[in-house]
C-alpha cells in the first residue's frame, strides 16, 4: 500500500516530467487506436463493397456450381430452401438468381454477353444494384404493353451494340431444354460503369430469364445477407444444418470470393509488420522518457537504498509508477480518441479521388469502432511501458547508494 502511495505521489511530485512521459504514452495510444480503427475500417469497407455489390454474405447453390457452373445445376424454387431462408431470423434479406450466356444483337451489331436473371425487388433489398443504375430507371418484373420484358445492360454491352435507353436488345442462347432461346427485350437502364465487372452483362427480371432459358421455377443461386459480413460463417453452419438436401451447398463469402479473401488475408499479414513498426516507435518514445525520468532521480534512489529500502521494492515502485502513469495516459488518450474514432467511423475522410468499385462509388475513408480498437492499444502501451521500465528499474535497484548520492 505504501508502495502504491509512493508511486502515485512520485507521479504528481514531478508534474512536468510526468506530463512529458504521459504525453508520449497518451499520444501513442491515440495513434494506435486511430491506426487500428482505420485499418479495420478499410478492410470492412472493402468486404462490404464486395458483399454488397453482388456476392452477399452467404450463397446457396446446387452441388459444385461455384467451381463448375452448369445450366442444369439448379435449385427448385418450391423446395424447402426458400422456407428456411424466410424463417431464419438472422437473415436480413435474400435474392434468387439465374446465370447464362448468350449472343446479343443491337441492330446489326452482335456481341457475346452474360445474362443474369434477378428478382428486381429482392435483389434491390439484398445488394446495391439499385444504386448502380446510371441512366434510365430500375426495372420491374413485368411485361410492357407490347409484350416485351425490360432489361438492364452494362456499359460494355451498350457501347458494343450501340444501344441506349428504350432500344431493343435481341438475345439468343440455348435453353435448358435444348431449345433455341431467342427474344427481344427493351433496355430500361444502364448499369454500373465502363470498368464494372458486369459491363458485359444483361440483367433480366427473373421471370423473363426463366422463360428465356426454359427453366421455369428454377434458379442457380441464392444470395443471402445477414447483419454483418463477420457473421457469414456462423450463418453458413446454421443453414447447412437446416437444409437437409445433401445436394445443396451453402458457402460464405470467404469461399465464394476465395481469391479476394485470400489476398486480403495476405495483405493483413503484411499490415501487421507496419503496425509492429508503429508500436516499436511508440515503445522507443516511452523508453526514452521513462529512462530519462529514472536517471534524473538516481540520487533519490540512492537515499532510499541508504535508509534501508529493499532493492526489490525500489524496482517494483518504479515499474508500478510507470504502469500507473501508462494507465492514466491511456485513460486520457481514450477520452481524446473516442470522439476522433467516432468521427472517423461516422463521417470519415472524403477522398479527393473517389474509387469506383463496379459502379458503386466509394468516396470516404471510414474507421471502425469496437472494443478491440480501444483495448488493444492499452495492452500494447502499458505492456511496453512496463517492459521498458524494467531496464532502469533494475539499474536503480543495483545502484550503490554512495555512488548515487555522490552523483558520479
Amino acid at each position: 500500500m505504501l508502495l502504491a502511495k509512493l508511486a502515485f505521489r512520485n507521479i504528481f511530485r514531478q508534474r512536468r516530467r510526468s506530463l512529458l512521459t504521459g504525453l508520449s504514452m497518451g499520444g501513442g495510444y491515440i495513434l494506435l487506436a486511430l491506426t487500428l480503427s482505420l485499418v479495420e475500417g478499410s478492410y470492412n469497407n472493402i468486404i462490404n463493397i464486395v458483399t454488397n455489390d453482388h456476392t452477399g454474405h452467404v450463397q446457396i447453390h446446387k452441388e459444385d456450381y461455384l467451381d463448375r457452373a452448369g445450366i442444369f445445376k439448379t435449385l427448385s424454387r418450391d423446395s424447402s430452401v426458400e422456407t428456411i431462408l424466410n424463417s431464419e431470423p438472422s437473415i436480413r434479406s435474400w435474392a434468387p438468381r439465374i446465370y447464362g450466356a448468350g449472343l446479343g444483337y443491337g441492330g446489326e451489331k452482335s456481341a457475346p454477353l452474360s445474362i443474369v436473371g434477378i428478382d428486381p425487388l429482392m435483389e434491390r433489398s439484398t445488394t446495391k444494384i439499385f444504386e448502380k443504375v446510371r441512366e434510365g430507371r430500375y426495372f420491374r418484373n413485368r411485361i410492357d404493353a407490347d409484350g416485351y420484358y425490360p432489361a438492364m445492360i452494362g456499359y460494355g454491352v451498350a457501347d458494343m451494340l450501340k444501344l441506349s435507353i428504350d432500344d431493343e436488345i435481341v438475345l439468343i442462347s440455348s435453353g435448358a431444354d435444348g431449345s433455341i432461346a431467342n427474344d427481344i427485350y427493351i433496355v430500361e437502364a444502364l448499369i454500373g460503369s465502363r470498368d464494372s465487372y458486369d459491363k458485359m452483362t444483361v440483367y433480366l427480371p427473373i421471370d423473363a430469364a426463366q422463360d428465356f432459358f426454359s427453366m421455369m421455377g428454377k434458379v442457380h443461386e441464392y444470395a443471402v445477407m445477414t447483419g454483418h459480413p463477420g457473421k457469414a460463417q456462423e450463418l453458413t453452419r446454421l443453414l447447412s444444418a437446416a437444409i437437409s438436401d445433401p445436394l445443396v451447398t451453402v458457402s460464405p463469402w470467404q469461399v465464394v470470393e476465395e481469391t479476394f479473401y485470400k489476398s486480403m488475408e495476405a495483405d493483413k499479414q503484411g499490415n501487421k509488420v507496419t503496425m509492429g513498426i508503429v508500436v516499436f516507435l511508440i515503445c522507443i518514445g516511452v523508453l526514452n522518457t521513462v529512462l530519462m525520468s529514472v536517471l534524473e532521480r538516481t540520487k533519490e534512489f540512492g537515499v532510499m537504498l541508504a535508509v534501508g529500502t529493499n532493492r526489490l521494492l525500489v524496482m517494483a515502485m518504479i515499474v508500478l509508477e510507470i504502469t500507473t502513469l501508462g494507465l492514466l495516459s491511456c485513460a486520457v488518450g481514450f477520452v481524446l480518441s473516442l470522439p476522433l474514432v467516432y468521427w472517423f467511423t461516422h463521417v470519415g475522410i472524403t477522398m479527393p479521388q473517389p474509387i469506383d468499385m463496379g459502379g458503386v462509388i466509394y468516396d470516404t475513408m471510414v474507421g471502425e469502432m469496437g472494443i478491440g480498437i480501444f483495448t488493444i492499444p492499452v495492452v500494447i502501451i502499458v505492456g511496453s511501458a512496463a517492459a521498458v521500465s524494467l531496464i532502469p528499474a533494475i539499474r536503480a535497484a543495483h545502484i550503490t547508494p554512495l555512488d548515487a548520492m555522490s552523483d558520479r
Binding site: F72, I172, D177, G178, S179, I180, N182, D183, S214
Partner: protein, 258 residues
C-alpha cells in the same frame, strides 16, 4: 537368241500380264464402287424424290431433359430444303433453309435470319443429336468418299472412307442396306481413332404412297450417355405437287406461320 527370247518374255510378257491382272481387279473394284454409289444414291433419294413434303416429329432425349417438336419439311432434289417448326408454341415458326451448301435459320420472335457459319456445321441442329452438317450434307457421300461394298445374303455393307482432299470429321462411315427391300438399316460413324461415335438406325417401315420406307430415324451419339434423337415421319408425300422453286428463298424463309 535363246537369251534374247527369255529377255523379251521378261521385259514384255511379265509386265503385260501383271497389268492385265491389276486391271481386272481394278475393274471389279470400279464396278463395286459404282454399285455402292448407286445404292447410296437410292437411299439418299428415298425420302426426297423430285419434290417432297413431310410432317415429322422429333424427340430429343438427354439425361437432363426430353423434348418433342413437330415440324414440316419441303425439299426439291438434294439441294433445296425448308424446315419449319410447328410446335411447341415457344419455337413455332423457327425455320431452317438449306440452299445447296449454305444454311440459314430464321427466328420469327426476333425477326432475324442468321446464316449458319461453316464453323457451326458440326454444331447441334435445334438441340438435337443431328448436326447442321447432317442437314446440309456439305460432303457428298458418293463424291467425297471412296466406297467399298461387301455383300452377305441379306445385307449390303458399304464402307465409306474419305478421299484425301475431303474435309470431314469422320474417318469411316459404314452403311448397311437391306438387300431385298433396298432400304437402309443403319449408318455408323467412326472418328479418327476408329471409335464408333454415333449410329443412325432406320426403323418401323411404313407405307408412304406407293413406297414402303422406314418411318423412324434414330440417332444415338455413343460418346454422350443417355442422349438420343428420334425423328418420326408422320406424313411423307413424294413427288409432291405445289412445292415450287420459289419456296426456297430467304424471303419465303421469313414468311411467318399463322
Amino acid at each position: 537368241m535363246k537369251n534374247s527370247l527369255i529377255l523379251s518374255i521378261l521385259l514384255f510378257w511379265v509386265p503385260a500380264s501383271m497389268c492385265l491382272a491389276t486391271e481386272g481387279i481394278l475393274n471389279q473394284d470400279a464396278a463395286n464402287e459404282e454399285k455402292a454409289k448407286k445404292l447410296i444414291q437410292q437411299v439418299d433419294d428415298m425420302y426426297r424424290s423430285a419434290a417432297s413434303r413431310a410432317t415429322m416429329t422429333m424427340r430429343v432425349q438427354t439425361p437432363n431433359y426430353q423434348r418433342s417438336m413437330t415440324m414440316e419439311s419441303y425439299t426439291i432434289g438434294e439441294e433445296k430444303m425448308l424446315i419449319r417448326i410447328l410446335a411447341p408454341k415457344k419455337e413455332r415458326g423457327i425455320s431452317t433453309l438449306k440452299l445447296d451448301k449454305e444454311m440459314w435459320n430464321f427466328f420469327p420472335k426476333i425477326n432475324k435470319t442468321i446464316k449458319v457459319p461453316p464453323s457451326m456445321m458440326m454444331g447441334s441442329w435445334m438441340g438435337s443429336d443431328f448436326t447442321n452438317d447432317d442437314l446440309v450434307k456439305e460432303t457428298s457421300l458418293t463424291d467425297d468418299y471412296a466406297l467399298s461394298l461387301d455383300e452377305s445374303s441379306e445385307i449390303y455393307t458399304i464402307t465409306l472412307t474419305p478421299r484425301y482432299q475431303t474435309v470431314t470429321v469422320w474417318d469411316k462411315i459404314i452403311i448397311k442396306i437391306d438387300k431385298e427391300k433396298h432400304t437402309p438399316i443403319e449408318q455408323a460413324f467412326y472418328d479418327e481413332k476408329n471409335r464408333k461415335v454415333r449410329v443412325m438406325s432406320y426403323r418401323e417401315p411404313k407405307q408412304f404412297g406407293s413406297v414402303i420406307l422406314p418411318s423412324v430415324l434414330e440417332m444415338v451419339p455413343l460418346n454422350k450417355e443417355g442422349h438420343k434423337t428420334l425423328v418420326t415421319y408422320d406424313k411423307l408425300e413424294l413427288n409432291a405437287e405445289g412445292v415450287e422453286e420459289d419456296f426456297f428463298t430467304l424471303r419465303s424463309l421469313k414468311r411467318r406461320l399463322r
